[in-house]
């Protein structure tokens, strides 16, 4: 199986995640789409690692997973905090950070 297929698949998954971020408004689904994009990046990293023939890309992928887990924890904590304060869970209404 050529490495190209994996790279193109990862580009496709990344674009899917980007579309999801653009069309959805629930912060939870946006976090899920972020996961999609991070995983597409992971797939590309692992494919490049296989292509080059050393394991460093896989270490990158593992560290991307760690960062993704941190992002999920903080994002979900924010969502719970927003929910507790009775604010609408909608990114179009939560635009106070935009100034």
């Amino acid at each position: 199986m050529n490495v190209d297929w994996f790279i193109v698949l990862s580009a496709l998954l990344f674009a899917t995640g980007a579309i999801g971020i653009l069309i959805r408004r629930s912060p939870m689904v946006i976090l899920l789409c972020l996961e999609l994009m991070l995983n597409a990046g992971n797939l590309a990293l692992v494919a490049f690692s296989r292509m080059v023939g050393n394991g460093q890309g896989q270490v990158f992928a593992v560290i991307v997973m760690v960062v993704a887990a941190c992002e999920v924890v903080v994002g979900l904590g924010l969502i719970v905090a927003i929910f507790r304060r009775r604010l609408p869970l909608n990114v179009d209404d939560l635009r106070e950070l935009r100034g």
């Binding site: 199986m1 050529n2 490495v3 190209d4 297929w5 994996f6 790279i7 193109v8 698949l9 580009a11 998954l13 674009a15 899917t16 995640g17 579309i19 999801g20 653009l22 069309i23 408004r25 629930s26 939870m28 689904v29 976090l31 899920l32 789409c33 996961e35 999609l36 797939l43 692992v46 494919a47 690692s49 292509m51 080059v52 023939g53 394991g55 460093q56 896989q58 270490v59 992928a61 593992v62 560290i63 997973m65 760690v66 960062v67 887990a69 941190c70 924890v73 903080v74 979900l76 904590g77 969502i79 719970v80 927003i82 507790r84 009775r86 604010l87 609408p88 869970l89 209404d93 106070e96």
Partner: protein, 212 residues
């Protein structure tokens, strides 16, 4: 055989991804993401990276998704409004996504990477197994490894601070409990974790003392 496995798991990954962005209910989106993650783990196995595949299944599809399921069950659906702040957003966004895909494909496939169009070099038997990854992490990438552990610790502390019941102005927890137990009903009651759920789409006017 390898091609069959690739296309089956690629279909699973793509279907899971489309399911995540197409499902109305966030709970189904999380389930679709689990399908996506399992398919990705199969793809990682095809790329002879056993450790990353195992970490994907255990950490992502296991732990992180359980966290998601808990939060979705806690927060509920929260009906998404149908109006669009930018007219035609639902049609423009897929166009932009397709453009992004084409650009990424062109950027990668037209690059002069030598191993494109091949399977990559033959790798030794232990390629990508936990021993190799562990050796790389603890020898060559020790500083990123330690930095990521500090990042995990910070994220855990940050999540506790963010999701805790504390509000600004109420510093001492014993004081807060005394206030909760007091019979005088204060106007903005401190919301407790299992308070009654707000109305379906969430009132657009934030409650007093909100995130502002």
């Amino acid at each position: 055989m390898e091609e069959v496995l690739f296309f089956v798991s690629a279909l699973g990954a793509l279907g899971g991804a489309v399911g995540v962005i197409a499902m109305r209910n966030p709970f189904y989106s999380v389930l679709a993401l689990i399908v996506h993650l399992f398919s990705l783990a199969a793809l990682f196995l095809l790329l002879t990276s056993a450790f990353v595949a195992a970490a994907q299944v255990v950490v992502y599809a296991g732990a992180v998704m359980v966290l998601y399921v808990f939060v979705v069950a806690y927060v509920g659906e929260g009906g998404e409004p149908a109006w669009e702040p930018i007219p035609g957003q639902r049609f423009l966004a897929p166009l932009l996504g397709i453009a992004l895909f084409v650009e990424l494909s062109i950027a990668v496939l037209s690059s002069s990477l030598l191993a494109l169009g091949t399977q990559g070099p033959d790798v030794p038997a232990g390629f990508g197994d936990p021993a190799a990854i562990g050796r790389l992490l603890l020898e060559k990438f020790l500083i990123p490894f330690e930095a990521s552990s500090i990042l995990l610790l910070l994220a855990a502390v940050g999540a506790i601070v963010l999701a805790s019941n504390r509000r600004e102005g109420v510093g001492d927890p014993s004081e807060r409990f005394a206030e909760e137990e007091g019979s005088t009903p204060k106007a903005p009651a401190v919301p407790r974790p299992f308070d009654e759920v707000p109305s379906e789409e969430g009132s657009p006017t934030p409650s007093p003392g909100g995130l502002a």
